[in-house]
Symmetry: C2
Subunit: 225 residues, 2 copies
Amino acid sequence: MEKRKKEVLVIEDILGSNKKIASSIRQKLEEKGILAVNLLSSPGSGKTTLLEKIGLKLKDRYKVGVIEGDIETERDAERIRKVGLPAWQITTHGACHLEARMLARLFDQIPADLDFLFIENVGNLVCPASFDLGERLRFVLLSVPEGDDKPRKYPEAFITSHVFIITKADLLPHLPFDANRVTQEALEINPKLEIFRTSAWNGEGLDNLCAFLEKKLQELRAKNA
Amino acid sequence: MEKRKKEVLVIEDILGSNKKIASSIRQKLEEKGILAVNLLSSPGSGKTTLLEKIGLKLKDRYKVGVIEGDIETERDAERIRKVGLPAWQITTHGACHLEARMLARLFDQIPADLDFLFIENVGNLVCPASFDLGERLRFVLLSVPEGDDKPRKYPEAFITSHVFIITKADLLPHLPFDANRVTQEALEINPKLEIFRTSAWNGEGLDNLCAFLEKKLQELRAKNA
């Protein structure tokens, strides 16, 4: 029991100092008018692919950058650079989530005139939900092949997010996934969630999502004005 | 820096006591001739569906039981009970992985004459890999929609597993997933991996997997004889 108590204290300590660093990051980003978005999901839900697609749509009118969080490899950052966006890699070497201190370290590399800063978290629907990175918006992604029973099974990611994106919607005709069920369940957990249905293959929902992001950027800039 | 050192010490402590409890569980299970299998994967890779299917194939000739690890809900245990198998639920209420002490607590409920004990871990391709549960075999599952770039990005689960199962193989014609690439990459990380390709929808690979499990049970019983 003593060990567990020590464990809880250490975790509270880590979360506490993470929160402080995150608040300072958020303040700096928002002063510069940069809209930061933290993307959470299981491995393979389509975070990188979504960023490739909306990055391409936004990059002619906005300055977009991406922080890529991975346990190992720089594969995702390379994909983002291929579509012409700057990407900064954080390799955690085993750690199951990003923490604010990891972002703080590369803060000097982030251009001050960025409009959107996307942070792709480590593929993990559980642990990243506990760590504020200083983002203004948090997106949770769930792909159609993962199944429509996930929000209640992994509630924290849905509770702490502002936006819920159903990805790989082109697979809906082929798989037993009830989009109404999952939407309803997600809203029961968090009634404030904005919900989008997207497909990187046929483009469904991507323009709506970009329009939403632009609106949120305008709101941030209006607050600063 | 002091905080991080404390964190590392606490984690080492947790892993150390987990290892002791796991060793004791393994010894007790193997003395009884029970083959325990720990299943790891992302959420929605098809762990429960695979267990439903192979459970149905094995249950006429063997006594099969399932421990279901979930953060919240008893949904998976209910699915397993529906196919006529006993299931014991461990709800972690937030924790991202099962630990040996959680299994030790329900050990009295596990029938001593079981042949196979499957342990479905929390849906998370990262953290469960660090926790020995006293299993004799560890399976890592990766579904075709998750993408063929995952072994190197999430190496620990592949390094610590005995068996790698590609699930949802019926989706191979529809998705850009190179089964040869993923097999080769997994074997580079862990050359001892046994690899199976399965589909719960069309039954591909399930008989092979059951035959493998039967062989492993015979090996365990021969060791005990």
